[in-house]
């Protein structure tokens, strides 16, 4: 498509960056993970033999069509579901249930509506039994980081969607997790807010020692945010490919048109919608006549 440039061609800077990244300690290790659901129709294999390693401070995206098991994967990482077999290690410790070392941000915000924004952010440390005086000071700092310091005493229902999600990110970060699990966090936002939130998340990621595991079905979002993209095939959910994103950092939305970006996107499109290319419906040959009297031809 773009003359000569493949998604595998990395500029020397990007290549050096990846070398540095891979030299970092492994934070998340997923080995031969299976998840099988029992349903009336029989067994459904949601995840099949997933192997993955995520390094510290890496930004990892999981991309896949709906039903490819990406939500199941992140829920297993969070400890909200147990795998049928296989193992997940975070910092070398096996995951056996939900824990403070893995913060999670849900698509549906899940802020506690009865707590103010500040109290929401203080929730995790409070559960850990930390003193409220330090919690409050730290909560203010986290809220300042996500730009919500003026809304600390508002209730969630008074905030817009983007603000709610920023509060949810602050709440997860306030617990100082090793890894931040994000399950399509910007899926419910309008495109403009979404772009802002993406830029925002990268800023936070830069300033906080955190590894991010991010689920999305939006190609642009995945390429824009991540170091590597895990592409899952649907039914059964298994690893199709792990793509190293050649787009240099720091990134901004102007790069949505740069050649590395377009090459990566073109590649992702071919591996994500393979069957679509065969069964593409041809709309120009629909078997129908004109339904109404049409005056001018729009074309």
């Amino acid at each position: 498509m773009i003359a000569g440039l493949s998604y595998k061609d990395q500029s020397p800077e990007v290549s050096a960056r990846f070398d540095k990244l891979k030299a970092r300690p492994e934070l998340l290790e997923i080995s031969s993970l299976y998840k099988i659901f029992d349903s009336k129709a029989g067994e459904v294999v949601a995840l099949q033999d997933i192997d993955l390693t995520v390094h510290r401070r890496e930004f990892m995206c999981v991309l896949g069509q709906s039903g490819c098991g990406k939500s199941t994967l992140i829920r297993i990482l969070a400890g909200l579901e147990t795998p049928t077999s296989g193992e997940v290690l975070v910092d070398g410790v096996p995951v056996i249930g939900p824990g403070r070392d893995r913060g999670m941000v849900f698509q549906s915000y899940t802020l506690f509506p009865w707590l103010t924004v500040k109290q929401n952010v203080m929730y995790g440390p409070r559960m850990a039994g930390k003193s409220d005086i330090t919690n409050e000071g730290e909560a203010r700092q986290w809220l300042a980081l996500v730009g919500l310091d003026k809304f600390e005493d508002s209730y969630p229902h008074q905030l817009s969607g983007g603000m709610k999600q920023r509060a949810a990110i602050a709440r997860a970060l306030a617990n100082e997790p090793r890894i931040l699990l994000m399950d399509e966090p910007f899926g419910a936002l309008d495109p403009q807010t979404r772009q802002q939130m993406q830029a925002y998340l990268l800023q936070i990621w830069k300033n906080v020692d955190i590894t991010i595991f991010f689920i999305t079905h939006d190609l642009d979002e995945a390429i824009f945010l991540s170091d590597r993209i895990l592409v899952l095939d649907p039914r059964p959910g298994r690893v199709r490919e792990v793509v190293e994103v050649p787009v240099p950092r720091p990134r901004d939305h102007e790069q949505l048109r740069c050649p590395e970006f377009l090459a990566t996107k073109a590649h992702l499109e071919t591996i994500i919608h393979p069957e679509d290319s065969n069964e593409k419906p041809s709309f120009d040959k629909l078997p129908m006549g004109r339904m109404t009297d049409v005056g001018d031809n729009v074309e």
Partner: protein, 465 residues
């Protein structure tokens, strides 16, 4: 931006304007009242005269005694007859040849006052033929020493009383030989409505009398009678105790059942089955267990409220957004903390709503409960007076139950916005408008600042910074 065009009255799932909504809310009470008034005061009920001073005359075929109800034409015939009688007596007196009247006849004339004297409390019921006492009453009445506020004596009859007492005085201790003047018949004008159709004014008067009466009326049977307000207090005591007892049991059980499948499976099937057995059916058992006084009444309200309370509360608890629990878990909350910091605060607004509804249904149980053992409360009034067809006393009691339930619910609904400022508040109800009207008038500071959605550009600004 305000649009001048008015919205339509009939529009699917569209709210009406404020003024129209208020009008309709007022009408929803005015219309039933109007129907009641039309039914009660409409021209279709026959007029009848209930006799309070009896009438007897040689011109009439029958004797009309107190309590008889006469149609208008008979009533006027009776009046004319007695007028003629009296005119005859007076004419004879003036012509110098007064009509002679036997002592027996004159005593009979005086006795006609008895029913009215009894109603006014001047004479006892059994003094019907106690001529000395009756004669004394006549004299006292003529002297203006008697209070006829309950059943007044007409001015015309007062003249007759005075004239007759003059004659009696002339006769000193004996009885006059002349004919005394007949008392003109008196009556209360009535409408022959069915007994259950009590007109609004009568109910209102009876209601007012009930809530203003300070000392208990002397009962006809001699037993001590309690005022409407005392009965009302008893009802509140029963319902509050029974309801509190029920929710003290139901809230922990319901929350646990909604949280733990173990408790749910263990408790709910039986509770569900139990709720199909109407609580009043256990009335006799409760009386055997708790005696005849307050005990069985409280326990019936308890028993009636409990099963539905458990089921509703567990359902509400289950309705809590599960993702909140997951979020709390990923933030490090343990099992105990999940209940204390997520489940309980999370269900509070809905739990409050449930309790409001349950309290409403508790009034139903109350009415039956109060009839167990020694009757008490408003149901005693309803039952006792209802059996005697005294619906003018029954309706105020029923009305008090309705008003209490209604206002209690409205006030609680209004208070919810102060208890749970984080919830999206529903539109103000009837009472809410009333209260906000009051607080607006007196300039009372609002307890809680009205919630305002965050300005949309705040996000852009904070991103840009």
């Amino acid at each position: 931006m305000k649009s001048k065009t008015r919205s339509r009255w009939w529009a699917v799932r569209k709210d009406l304007e404020h003024s129209r909504a208020s009008l309709l809310m007022a009408l929803s009470f005015i219309l039933p009242l109007a129907i009641w008034c039309i039914a009660a005061y409409g021209p279709w009920w026959d007029v009848a005269y209930q006799v309070t001073i009896p009438a007897e005359s040689s011109r009439l075929q029958s004797v009309y005694s107190a309590g008889d109800r006469l149609p208008p034409e008979t009533w006027s015939k009776v009046n004319t007859a007695l007028l003629d009688d009296n005119a005859e007596i007076l004419a004879a007196r003036e012509s110098g040849t007064p009509a002679t009247g036997s002592t027996r006849q004159n005593k009979k004339v005086l006795r006609k006052l008895h029913p009215l004297a009894f109603t006014n409390g001047w004479l006892a019921r059994d003094q019907e033929i106690d001529d000395t006492a009756i004669r004394g009453t006549w004299i006292k009445l003529a002297d203006g020493k008697l209070d006829d506020s309950k059943e007044p004596v007409t001015a015309e009859n007062m003249r007759i009383v005075k004239a007759n007492v003059e004659m009696l005085a002339k006769a000193e201790d004996g009885w006059p030989k002349e004919s005394l003047l007949n008392l003109m018949p008196q009556s209360i004008k009535e409408y022959a409505r069915p007994v259950y159709l009590v007109p609004p004014d009568v109910v209102a008067k009876s209601f007012w009398k009930g809530i203003t009466a300070s000392n208990p009326d002397a009962g006809e049977s001699g037993s001590e009678r309690k005022t409407l307000l005392q009965r009302y207090g008893e009802s509140w005591r029963t319902i509050v105790l029974g309801f509190l007892l029920a929710i003290v049991v139901a809230i922990p059980l319901g929350v646990l059942a909604g949280t733990y499948d173990l408790v749910s499976k263990l408790a709910e099937p039986f509770v569900n089955f139990f709720s199909y057995m109407p609580a009043p059916a256990f009335g006799v058992v409760l009386m055997a267990m708790f005696g005849l006084d307050l005990g069985p009444k409280i326990m019936l309200v308890f028993l009636g409220t409990l099963p539905s309370a458990i089921l509703t509360i567990s359902k509400t608890t289950r309705g809590l957004d599960g993702s909140l629990l997951e979020a709390a878990q990923t933030l490090g909350a343990n099992q105990k903390q999940l209940i204390t910091t997520v489940v309980i605060p999370g269900i509070l607004p809905n739990l409050y709503k449930d309790l409001r509804l349950l309290f409403g249904t508790a009034w139903t149980w109350l009415v039956i409960a109060e009839l167990l053992g020694f009757k008490s409360g408003l149901s005693e009034i309803i039952d006792t007076h209802g059996r005697r067809f005294q619906f003018d006393i029954v309706y105020p009691a029923i009305l008090m139950i309705g008003l209490s339930g209604f206002f209690m619910d409205q006030i609680l609904a209004y208070l919810a916005r102060y208890f749970f400022p984080w919830t999206d508040q529903p539109k103000k109800g009837f009472i809410g408008r009333f209260f906000s009207g009051i607080s607006g008038l007196s300039g009372m500071p609002r307890l809680i600042k009205p919630s305002r959605p965050a300005p949309a550009d705040a996000l852009t600004k904070s991103i840009a910074s």
